[in-house]
Amino acid sequence: MPANKRYLSTRAQRISKTLAGIVGGYFVTIAIHLLVGVIIGTGHGWVQTVTYSTFLFWIAAMVVALLFEKAWKVWALYLFITFSCAALIYLLR
């Protein structure tokens, strides 16, 4: 059923949030998984886990992105997580 207009943010905000969830969510997912890989080691167990956990994580990131009110906050949060993970990976390796 169509959602009540009251609970929807503006169109531009929604599109931006969705994009943040899909694109930003992808980078957040990969960055966190790589970080875990750096810490616990990239054995077969890690690769096998990645095959399913990434998709669940990615979806969670999409859903979380939609729960925010302002799109820029999502972008900021996801960029922050991605870059801090990237920095940690760089330092740890």
Partner: protein
């Protein structure tokens, strides 16, 4: 969340329907292969002379010795041995080859099988949209991913009253209520099934997207560590300096594997560095009955020793050796025999019905005064597009099976012709359906066409090949299964058609309740 669920659902609806329906038939891929190809109907020959296969391949091709050779023995649905490998090219390069080998005279006959049959292949490829060049696999992967999003947001909408929804039966209510209840009840019942498919489907479609970053960042662009997780023998380090060595007989190794695992069948034999000191043969085996029943055994070709650290013994695999295999088994339903496949098939059709009911909820919920006529026309068109494109696939698949028997088996280029018949008939049927205006009418006419065509299939099979399903039940169970499947489909679809007209007179409404009764069983 409502909005997310609606938007993702409507975006993927028709494609997801096609994927589920084509996938439902692909569950019976082996049986369809037996049905479509007369050569596959003869009893499977189990004793294959692997040494002779390797010898003949070595004689026919200029093999690249450092590259692996993969041999697929004769199996149900595959009457010929198949070999994949790489040849040596002038100037150091190498080229892939694929050949079929006749199990009687062991002659390599090139890439094309003796008779080209395309029914199972077309449906299987349609399942991951392979007919769309390059992008098809990724589109299907993303559809699976958003299917996961739709499932999860669906749970988030309904989790509070998920137990009551399980018992919500849907009779004598308004149309919107009927569609909504049908959608949620079936959604709850088949939820584990659908989440499993969304996850494994996304993995098969988008593995590149997933693995590329790990390969680039973690392994410096070398994909071997990732691939060897799934196929352990790919992680073998081959030394080009290894001396030539005497190989022991592959047939002896095969006998050893068969006596150690008498209930397993050999799916594939992968040979690396044949003829050298570090040569290894890896036997991929599967018993098709347990979730952990698949595995691989790697044996040294110099002394026949089993390599413990490289092998994955069935039922003794650790976590790191079984996740992917488990996902494969769950996705392809290769662990519980025919009964499981039938359950999977019915659940897949339930999912198809869920997609259609979701679209109808969307349309009915917007059939109100606050929407302008222009908007309503748009909703009507989208719904009709979904119905015509999706439901016309049912008679088109039936026509694909008919075309397999109607086009003579010796006709050159029959593969292309059969595929053309299938896709053209799908387009034509969908276009014709656009002329019919009420949803009930569309459903009824497609079901009627599909039902009539379904009855033709077992009859035509009997006439052309002489293997009537009551005669070949013992010898060719696969063939009889497919015939009976279509016979039942025809009966159920015909029943559905009769129900639609009754309900229409009673309710004078768009849509059809009987589809709910019919769809699960087709």
């Amino acid at each position: 969340m409502h909005h997310t669920h609606t938007v993702t659902g409507m975006m993927i609806s028709a494609i997801l329907f096609v994927i589920f329906l084509a996938g439902a038939y692909s569950l019976f891929r082996t049986e369809i292969q037996e049905w479509e190809n007369p050569a596959a109907r003869t009893a499977v020959q189990h004793n294959i002379n692997y040494d002779r296969v390797v010898r003949n391949i070595d004689n026919s091709y200029d093999l690249e010795p450092h590259k692996p050779l993969r041999i697929f023995p004769v199996r149900a649905g595959h009457p010929e041995i198949e070999v994949y490998g790489e040849t040596h090219e002038e100037g150091g390069g190498h080229d892939h080859f694929h050949t079929h080998i006749n199990p009687q005279n062991y002659r390599a006959q090139g890439e094309e099988p003796e008779h080209e049959t395309v029914v199972s292949q077309t449906l299987f490829k349609l399942h991951y949209l392979d007919q769309i060049p390059t992008l098809g696999l990724y589109i299907s992967g993303f559809v699976a991913l958003f299917f996961l999003l739709a499932s999860i947001s669906g749970i988030l909408i309904h989790w509070r009253n998920i137990v009551q929804k399980f018992y919500a039966f849907f009779v004598g209510k308004r149309w919107k209520q009927i569609w909504t209840d049908a959608h949620t009840v079936i959604g709850v019942i088949s939820l584990p099934f659908q989440v499993m498919y969304a996850l494994s489907g996304a993995l098969f479609g988008l593995s590149l997207l997933l693995l590329l970053p790990s390969v680039m960042v973690m392994f410096g662009g070398d994909q071997t560590p990732v691939l060897s997780t799934i196929r352990p023998e790919l992680g073998l380090e081959i030394s080009e300096q290894a001396p030539r060595a005497e190989m022991i007989s592959l047939n002896r190794l095969q006998e050893k594997v068969t006596s150690d695992y008498p209930n397993h069948q050999i799916e594939e034999v992968a040979i690396s560095h044949y003829g050298y000191d570090d040569a290894v043969a890896t036997f991929y085996i599967d018993d098709k009955t347990g979730l952990m029943g698949s595995g691989s055994l790697s044996l040294q070709l110099t002394d026949g020793q089993v390599m413990e650290d490289l092998s994955r013994f069935p039922y003794q695999k650790g976590y790191s050796g079984s996740v992917y295999d488990l996902l494969v088994k769950l996705h392809f339903a290769s662990f519980g025999g025919m009964l499981l496949k039938v359950i999977y098939f019915l659940l897949a059709l339930l999912s198809c019905f869920m997609i259609i009911s979701g679209v109808l909820i969307w349309q009915v919920a917007r059939d109100k005064r606050q929407y302008s006529d222009k908007q309503k026309r748009f909703h009507h068109r989208v719904t009709k597009l979904n119905l015509t494109a999706c439901l016309s696939l049912f008679p088109a698949i039936a026509l694909l099976f008919i075309a397999n028997k109607a086009v003579p088996i010796d006709y050159d280029g029959r593969g292309v012709l059969v595929k053309q018949i299938f896709f053209l008939s799908w387009v034509v049927l969908a276009a014709v359906g656009w002329k019919w205006d009420s949803y009930a009418d569309i459903t009824k006419k497609y079901f009627l066409t599909g039902s009539v065509l379904s009855f033709v299939i077992p009859g035509l099979n009997g006439l052309v090949t002489g293997d009537w399903f009551w005669l070949c039940w013992d010898m060719m169970a696969g063939v009889a299964t497919i015939d009976l499947l279509w016979l039942l489909t025809g009966i159920v679809a015909l029943f559905a058609v009769s129900q639609i007209s009754i309900k229409k007179e009673e309710a004078e409404d768009k849509g059809s309740i009987s589809e709910k009764v019919a769809e699960p069983a087709i």
